[in-house]
């Protein structure tokens, strides 16, 4: 379980076909940029969940 939780953000960060495009634009930022920036806090959340699962 811990390993899956850690793997998800990694896969999401490397799946370039998913995010290598301009649309939809958010606040003027192309998708490519805001997707990756949004993924940063999200990845932190996944690591936190893995920690919770582990220390249970």
């Amino acid at each position: 379980m811990k390993y899956v939780l850690l793997l998800i953000p990694c896969v999401l960060a490397l799946l370039t076909p998913l995010y290598n495009r301009v649309d939809p634009v958010l606040f003027g930022l192309p998708f490519f940029y805001w997707y990756l920036l949004l993924l940063v806090p999200l990845s932190s959340l996944f690591v936190y969940l893995a920690w919770k699962v582990e220390s249970r």
Binding site: A13, L37, P41
Partner: protein
């Protein structure tokens, strides 16, 4: 030499630099320990809690060079430079998984470096030497690049000069750094990291609000950057050259390179001696786990810093050296006093990693090269003294590289450094989970990876990081790592290792659960 100096900016710059110098010397007294012991000088007595570790590791991750170079790549080619973001996303799951195990085992056996662990695990001095040598070799150009970052902002203050005189401010800054690192050890960068980070946050928050506002919003920033890229492509095609792979998104030829470079860089980062030093100085494995959750705050800042490169394009800043893009953007967009503040933040951002790097390299030299091969019965006091001395020599070496050799040399070595660092990954990380591999097989794998990696990087005109395979392009570091791992697996399968292993399975688990 100083005719074009921006005096207001320079005064602010010097003020903040003086401030951190005082902090650096005062740090010796903080959480005081006996600095004649290596683990006190070089690991801060292993008493760093979650906050200090956060600042210290964060300081390793985004350095003066990062602040200058990442937006520089964005300025030059666009989306490809944004690999810094997926790269830093991959780092934390990796740290969460492997570093607590390394912390546990090194703590239990009194190891101070990654190579110490290797020696204990595989009972092979030559593998220990290979790991230590790789770390020191890759760290030197890294320190040199911190100086490059510092020099770019000093130039942007308007300081000009020729010959040796042009390096005078940098030399002064570096002597100061060398002296307080010598005196205070790891406590100095840990304390300075507080000041540096607050300054960097202020700079970045101001930059991502004020600069786009001046340029007409983020939409205008990206439109402007796109127009600049399109113009470059049009110019290249008109001249009869192939269109360069630049733009707001990745070209098809770049996607695998983007992915493999992110993976390879993330795997290499925590193999560097300075990153290990920062991690092993933590007071418990929980501190490391907590940091794996909270450190991504830095990645966010790094992503925003990267965008400064596109802002420079949109603002119409024209430079031949992309590394000048951010300093010039700051000077154009902010009043002098705030530009001085930003430049000080970047320059101080060079001090923290440069200090930790020189300490990491010095610890490694003392423990894994000098002690086992030259003076096995060294006293603890002499060990600490030798490391202090070594930290000076390492920094001096970096300074000499910057002053006497072209910057490109340091850049090329840094590029190779990442490829080299990856080659100790199998020994360190596999070693944390299994003792199946034999030390000699890992050593042969390391040698194969080092040779293959360096050879593939060597282009006819310049060093490159990419190699074409199966019609697409990959990061050379990962390719060399695959060769390395294959060699290690085959040799171990044929000749299993029988050397002594001083660690036990329980050493890798958290103390509470093991007992």
């Amino acid at each position: 030499m100083i005719d074009n100096l921006d005096w207001t900016a320079t005064a602010v710059f010097v003020f903040f630099f003086a401030l951190v110098t005082i902090v650096g010397f005062v740090a010796a007294r903080w959480q005081s320990g006996d600095l004649s012991q290596l683990h006190e000088w070089g690991l801060g007595g292993r008493r760093f809690g979650p906050w200090i570790t956060w600042f210290l590791l964060g300081g390793d991750l985004y350095t003066a060079y990062t602040v200058i170079a990442v937006p520089g790549v964005m300025y030059a080619v666009g989306a490809y430079g944004f690999f810094a973001v997926p790269y830093t996303i991959l780092i934390y799951p990796l740290i969460f998984l492997i570093m607590p195990r390394l912390w546990n085992v090194t703590h239990r056996h009194g190891h101070l470096t990654g190579a110490d662990f290797i020696a204990g695990r595989y009972g092979n001095r030559w593998l220990e030497l290979a790991v230590a040598f790789t770390g020191i070799l890759a760290t030197m150009p890294y320190i040199a690049l911190q100086l490059v970052g510092m020099e770019k902002v000093i130039q942007a203050l308007g300081f000009q000069g020729s010959g040796i005189a042009s390096h005078l401010p940098l030399t002064i800054a570096f002597i100061i750094l060398a002296l307080y690192t010598y005196k205070s050890g790891l406590r100095a960068p840990a304390m300075i990291a507080f000041v540096k980070d607050i300054m960097i946050y202020v700079f970045v928050i101001a930059a991502v609000i004020v600069i786009p506002a001046k340029l007409g919003g983020y939409g205008a920033v990206f439109d402007g950057a796109k127009a600049a890229f399109d113009a470059k492509i049009a110019a290249a095609t008109a001249a009869g050259n192939p269109a360069p792979a630049i733009g707001l998104t990745l070209a098809p030829s770049q996607t695998w390179l983007f992915v493999s470079l992110s993976i390879g860089s993330a795997m290499a980062l925590f193999m560097y001696p300075h990153a290990m030093t920062g991690t092993l100085a933590a007071s418990s494995p929980h501190v490391i786990r907590r940091n794996a959750v909270t450190l991504p705050a830095y990645s966010l800042v790094l992503g925003l810093i990267a965008l400064l490169g596109l802002m420079a394009l949109a603002a119409g800043i024209k430079v031949t050296d992309p590394q000048q893009a951010v300093p010039l953007l700051v000077r154009q967009m902010f009043p002098s006093w705030f530009a001085g503040f930003c430049f000080a933040a970047i320059a101080i951002g060079a001090l923290v990693p440069a200090a930790v790097m020189s300490i990491g390299a010095a610890n490694t030299f003392t423990r894994n090269i000098w002690k086992p091969f030259i003076e096995p019965r060294i006293s603890p006091e002499k060990e600490s003294f030798l490391a202090k001395l070594m930290s000076l020599i390492v920094k001096l070496g970096a300074l000499v590289v910057i002053i006497w050799l072209p910057t490109k040399f340091a850049l090329d070595l840094q590029l190779l450094g990442g490829v080299w660092m990856l080659q100790i990954f199998p020994a360190v990380v596999a070693g944390l989970y299994t003792r199946w591999f034999s030390g000699w097989a890992l050593l042969a794998g390391w040698a194969a990876g080092m040779l293959a990696g360096s050879y593939l990087c060597w282009g006819p005109t310049a060093l490159v990081t990419a190699v074409p395979i199966f019609g697409t392009t990959f990061y050379i570091g990962l390719v060399a790592l695959a060769i390395n791992a294959a060699v290690a697996v085959v040799i171990t399968a044929v000749v299993p290792g029988r050397a002594a292993d001083e660690t036990r399975a329980a050493d890798y688990e958290d103390a509470a659960r093991a007992r």
